[in-house]
């Protein structure tokens, strides 16, 4: 320990000195105390600091607050000041931490020599890069290219532009595998502008999504999820208690569809025809809004050929269904159509639907001052690749994107990149593109770096570094600015470093009133995490005459692959984060794998059995993955998530599943395929055994009509709930009695709570093998059940978060021989790890099966262990653990209240799951405090009638009260 005393070990020891270190098990803590030489005045060891910054995992641009302990970021939470996330973030946002601390991150600059990589110094790397750049610039124009993602932020894009310009180039390519170009193309066609509209789902009462998975990956899932929950909340509309009615059109029932009322299993590519058909119904029935001011006659003739009957014939969707959709949509007081996928016609049809029903400016609006289109259009990407192939590019700089993995096979990206004499890859975990690079540069993770975001008009996010870099990396902006200076071009990069560039860009935002106080504006922006200004609604007009692109009327192939972005891995960028790998995909509940979802009838036709590896072949390529047989996919469709199938990207991504990009053509996520069973089996890991709750009341649902008329759902609850009978006097909890109210109706299945719990409570991840063995450790899970055939009225899916219910008659407690499980004086179900002998009786007796046993000594390969929360004990092998309602937060608030000589305030304590829930489905509070938000929620109108407790017949008296999920009764098809 004495030699090579690094900052890393210093931090470790400082943390040990501060609090008891999070050393696994009960090993003695390090026995040295090493004080600071000069303390950082802002740091109090043992007290967290909070920095506002921005999330960069996707383009939605939520603001986050990072919690720092002893110099390490240990948790991200949403920034309440941010209008997009409003204090919440999704699972991907939570998992950002595992990007910072990923053990496979590149640690030093490396240079490829032969087959291997050689560590080089930064000086050598700089020299290598700059010499090549100078040589390229000397050879001519546009011989240097930059390839990155679309959401690196306006300032970085400026720096990239300046850097390229310094070397005589303008080839900046911002590539996104899941492209927004079709939506922009459609907007240009309809409205003559290329920006994207902003939606307000909460202002609608009918929603049709044409393949836009708005609760998972589409646009801004946190914001849209929040709006969707409001849309689905029971409220009186036109004198009648109702919830929003939602249709989802997609070949597969994903978790977004599962939270809708109707899932219409259209073949991939049929979305546009269906949308136009709905439009046809609305127009022909005269439900177009008179306020819409559109050329109805022109539109009518445009959609004339899309009458329900013929579209029904083409797509297999019943004409009645299309008519019903049109009727609901046309008659609704506020409706919204969303479109996903790559067909601009679908997007255009959805826009038109919103316009003709008078919802433009209401549920969908365009704003002035939207950020410019950052994404490079595919033609330009292909052109750049061609240039590479033709040897016209000498230096290619790739960051934060993975063309080799995510570009369609037809573009032959790998081959084109190989033709470039110097490929420089910068980033964290070296991915497939990094495998092809000649020079690999470790770049700062966004949380270690300065950056800004501009997700939409009026919202400017300012990201500051929240901690010292973990590895010997450099910020991309600094690197490019220094490199541009080296070019010798005068004033090539007029900034000192990226912070300076950011600051000077930021000053331009400074509103005139505050212009004098530049420093104050900057500091305030840093504190708030950005700058919010009002945005003006743009006046747009539908140009009916321009509507000419009719969807290519395609023959539906016999068997078609429909790929979709994995809700957590997206286009593959999340695959190196074990939390994201281990959170079950909400519908299939599969982890650590890719799968081909096939309808049982289709599977039977091709002779495919459960978990059998199938070979999927398209005109573009062939992959093998395991089959998941499910009725939640259209017949004749093979549905497959994008995101797995990495051949690099570190230990967690490499070798997991298969990559459907290999099969796809440019500009499409579906393609005709053939499928062959291979007779080999590959078990798809899932923590869920049975998909049906067998008439047990674990997750309950209720129709909105029953709620309105006060009828309790009886049909599928087989057990009678007896009147509670108590032999003994009940325990009293005079101080507090903590409890939770969970609105299952608001749960969108986004799984952010699970990720937050992993991060907050040091919950270990276990990997595929142990998930198969039934040893997943997550303290909170999504209890997901499919409807059962024998009951008539049911929602598409039963879904509710399941965590320790903190029962007051906890079955787990009296069976513990040593009081390791006991009931606290505040009504919590305590689990004392150091007392636990590991008899596992408690878990046997837990009806909810929410206790987790440490089968192994948990492992977090360094530096993943730096993320561990020092306020929570790391449990060693042989110990039972479970949800504690984040007791560390409760204790902290109680101590603070005690010091300040006041009672704990309602809302002062927020467990990690409740904190991050985008829809606020989870609320926490004191059951003694009848005026608390949590208790009021239980008795609120339209809530009280739908409260239930899971498995209530057992009389375990859980402290968690659920509100039933609500659904509309479907028309019988």
């Amino acid at each position: 320990m004495s030699e090579g005393f690094s900052r890393r070990s210093f931090l470790k020891l400082a943390a040990t000195a501060g609090a008891a270190a999070a050393v696994p098990g009960c090993q003695p803590a390090a026995r040295k105390l090493i004080p600071y030489v000069i303390p950082d005045e802002n740091v109090i060891p043992g007290v967290p600091q909070f920095y506002a910054t921005t999330c960069t995992e996707c383009g939605a641009g939520c603001g986050v607050v990072a919690r720092i302990r002893e110099g390490r970021v240990i948790k991200l939470e949403g920034n309440p000041a941010d209008p997009i996330g409003k204090g919440t973030i999704c699972a991907r946002g939570q998992a950002t931490l595992q990007g910072v601390y990923n053990p496979d991150r590149l640690r030093n600059p490396m240079r490829r020599q032969g087959v291997g990589l050689k560590t080089i110094s930064w000086d050598d790397a700089d020299k290598l890069l700059n010499d090549a750049l100078k040589a390229a610039a000397a050879k001519g124009k546009n011989r240097v290219a930059y390839l990155g993602p679309a959401h690196q932020g306006p300032t970085l894009q400026t720096i990239i532009g300046a850097w390229l310009a310094a070397y005589q180039s303008s080839r900046a390519i911002f590539y996104e595998a899941i492209s927004e170009t079709p939506a922009r193309d459609a907007a240009e066609m309809c409205f003559g502008r290329r920006d994207l509209p902003v939606y307000h789902l909460d202002k609608a009462e009918v929603l049709i999504s044409f393949g836009a998975d708005f609760n998972e990956t589409w646009r801004s899932p946190v914001e849209l999820g929040r709006q969707y929950a409001e849309f689905r909340a029971p409220q009186t509309r036109r004198g009648k208690l109702s919830i929003g009615y939602a249709y989802y059109i997609s070949p597969r029932l994903n978790v977004t569809a599962a939270r809708c009322d109707e899932w219409i299993a259209a073949p991939p590519g049929a979305e546009a025809a269906l949308a136009l058909s709905v439009l046809n119904v609305i127009l022909s029935q005269g439900w177009a809004s008179p306020n819409a001011q559109v050329d109805v006659a022109g539109l009518k003739s445009f959609v004339a050929s899309y009458d329900p009957a013929s579209v029904s014939q083409q797509t297999g969707v019943p004409a009645k269904m299309i008519e019903a959709m049109g009727e609901r949509f046309g008659k609704a007081d506020g409706a919204v159509a969303l479109a996903g996928g790559n067909d601009p016609a679908t997007h255009a049809a959805a826009y038109v639907l919103n316009v003709v029903t008078g919802n433009l400016g209401r549920t969908m609006e365009f704003l002035d001052g939207m950020p410019p289109e950052a994404e490079t259009r595919s033609n330009d990407v292909v052109a750049a690749l061609d240039s590479m192939r033709n040897g016209e590019i000498d230096v290619l700089f790739v960051t934060e994107t993975n063309p080799v993995f995510s570009m369609p096979a037809a573009w032959k990206a790998a081959e084109a990149i190989q033709k470039v004499p110097l490929v420089v890859w910068g980033g964290g975990v070296p991915n497939e593109t990094g495998e092809q690079a000649h020079l690999l540069l470790p770049l700062h993770h966004p949380l270690e770096d300065w950056r800004d975001t501009f997700p939409r008009a009026g919202v400017h996010g300012l990201g500051q570094p929240v901690m010292q870099p973990v590895f010997w990396s450099r910020p991309l902006g600094d690197l490019l600015i220094a490199s541009a200076r080296e070019s010798g071009v005068k004033n090539a990069a007029p900034w000192e470093n990226s912070q300076d560039a950011l600051r000077s860009a930021w000053m331009k935002l400074n509103p005139k009133a505050a212009a004098a106080d530049a420093e104050g504006f900057w500091v305030n922006s840093l504190r708030e995490g950005g700058y919010i200004e009002p945005a003006q609604q743009a006046q747009v007009k539908l140009n009916v005459a321009a509507l000419k692109t009719s969807p290519a009327s395609r023959e539906i192939p016999k068997l078609v692959l429909a790929a979709y972005p994995h809700p957590f891995l997206y286009d593959g960028r999340g695959a190196d984060k074990p939390w994201l790998q281990e959170i079950p995909e909400p519908v299939t509940q599969i982890v650590w794998d890719s799968w081909a979802e096939i309808h049982p009838e289709t599977a039977a036709k091709y002779g495919i059995s459960k978990d059998e590896v199938v070979e999927i072949r398209s005109s573009e390529g062939v992959i093998k993955t395991a089959a998941h047989i499910s009725e939640r996919v259209r017949k004749g469709v093979v549905s497959m998530p994008i995101g797995q199938g990495h051949t690099a990207m570190g230990r967690y991504a490499n070798g997991v599943g298969a990559n459907p990009f290999v099969l796809l053509k440019p500009g499409s996520q579906s393609i005709a395929v053939t499928i062959h069973p291979t007779q080999t089996r590959h078990e798809l890991a899932s923590p869920t055994y049975l998909n049906r709750q067998l008439g047990r009341s674990i997750v309950e649902a209720q129709t909105i009509t029953d709620l309105a008329s006060g009828v309790q759902p009886k049909e599928w609850r087989e057990e009678e709930v007896p009147k509670p009978y108590e032999m003994y006097p009940d325990w009293q909890y005079p101080a507090h009695q903590w409890g939770m109210t969970i609105d299952a109706n608001a749960c969108t299945g986004c799984s952010a709570c699970i990720a937050a719990c992993y991060a907050e409570n040091n919950v270990p991840f276990v990997g595929r093998e142990d998930v198969i063995n039934g040893r997943i450790m997550s303290w909170i899970r999504l209890e997901r059940y499919y409807p059962e055939e024998k009951y008539e009225h049911q929602p598409l899916m039963f879904l509710a978060p399941m965590l320790c219910q903190q029962c007051h008659h906890a079955p787990c407690e009296p069976v513990c021989p040593v009081f390791a499980a006991y009931h606290t004086q505040e009504g919590l179900n305590g689990q004392i790890y150091n007392r636990c002998v590991g008899t596992r009786y408690c878990e046997n007796n837990c009806p909810y099966k929410v206790r987790r046993f440490n089968w192994w000594e948990p492992e977090w390969p360094e530096p993943l262990n730096y993320q561990l929360n020092p306020d929570v004990t790391v449990r060693g092998a042989g110990v039972m653990e479970k949800c504690t309602f984040c007791v560390q937060r409760i204790r902290h608030a109680e101590i603070t209240a005690m010091i300040e000589k006041r009672p704990v305030r309602d809302g002062e304590i927020v467990p990690a799951c409740a904190q991050t829930c985008p829809t606020h489905a989870i609320s926490f509070g004191d059951m003694n405090d009848k005026n608390g938000e949590m208790m009021k929620r239980r008795v609120a109108k339209n809530n009280q009638e739908r409260t239930y407790r899971s498995l209530e017949a057992l009389n375990a008296q859980p402290a968690v009260t659920y509100l039933r999920e609500l659904y509309n009764e479907r028309e019988k098809a």
Binding site: G4, F5, S6, R7, R8, F10, A17, G18, A19, A20, A21, A22, V23, C26, Q27, P28, A29, R31, K32, L33, I34, P35, Y36, V37, I38, P39, D40, I44, P45, G46, V47, G71, Q468, P469, V470, F471, W472, F819, Y822, T824, Q825, E826, L828, G830, I832, Y833, N834, R835, D871, V872, T873, V874, T884, V887, Q888, R891, I895, M898, I899
Partner: protein
């Protein structure tokens, strides 16, 4: 007779040795922890009456009381003590030794499953000596009390504050 007594005596002796050995409490904190420099609490806290929290400055705000930074020593003793101090908060890649560090040996340790925090104890007006003994009379810190759960509980019971397991173990 001897043949009966001798084995019995042997058994008793072994039992006695075990009892004695355990009564010596090998797990108790050690009182012979030597420190790298002969710092005296008696001189600082006793004779010069420097308040505890002048040096252990985090105690009222944090879980940890904090070991005083070298800068704090220099503040009184003068910069000549160590010569050009530099901050240790240098970037990660800096593998050089910090200019001056004191590697104290821990006297008080708690297992990592105890979530003890100084803050409420200071706020409750407890003297440091309650747990740490008459530090102001010691040249070298020696543990006076064995800080085990029984020690915590005795005080908590007497003062009528929480004895919930979840107060310290989670």
């Amino acid at each position: 007779m001897n043949r009966t007594i001798l084995p019995l005596a042997a058994v008793l002796m072994v039992a006695g040795l075990v009892t004695f050995g355990l009564s010596q409490r090998p797990w108790a904190p050690r009182s012979d922890v030597a420190q790298p420099i002969p710092f005296s609490h008696r001189i600082h806290a006793g004779i010069n009456k420097i308040p505890c929290q002048y040096c252990h400055e985090y105690a009222r705000r944090s879980q940890t009381s904090g070991v005083p930074p070298v800068q704090r020593c220099v503040g009184c003793h003068g910069a000549a003590l160590v010569g050009g101090l530099q901050p240790v908060t240098r970037p990660w890649m800096d593998h050089t030794q910090p200019p001056f560090e004191i590697r104290w040996n821990r006297v008080y340790t708690l297992p990592d499953f105890v979530r003890f925090t100084h803050r409420p104890h200071i706020a409750a007006g407890l003297a440091c000596q309650t747990c740490h003994g008459p530090v102001q009379t010691m040249d070298r810190i020696e543990p006076v009390h064995e800080i085990n759960m029984g020690f915590c509980l005795t005080c908590h019971t007497q003062r009528g504050v929480t004895t919930d397991c979840f107060a310290c173990h989670f």
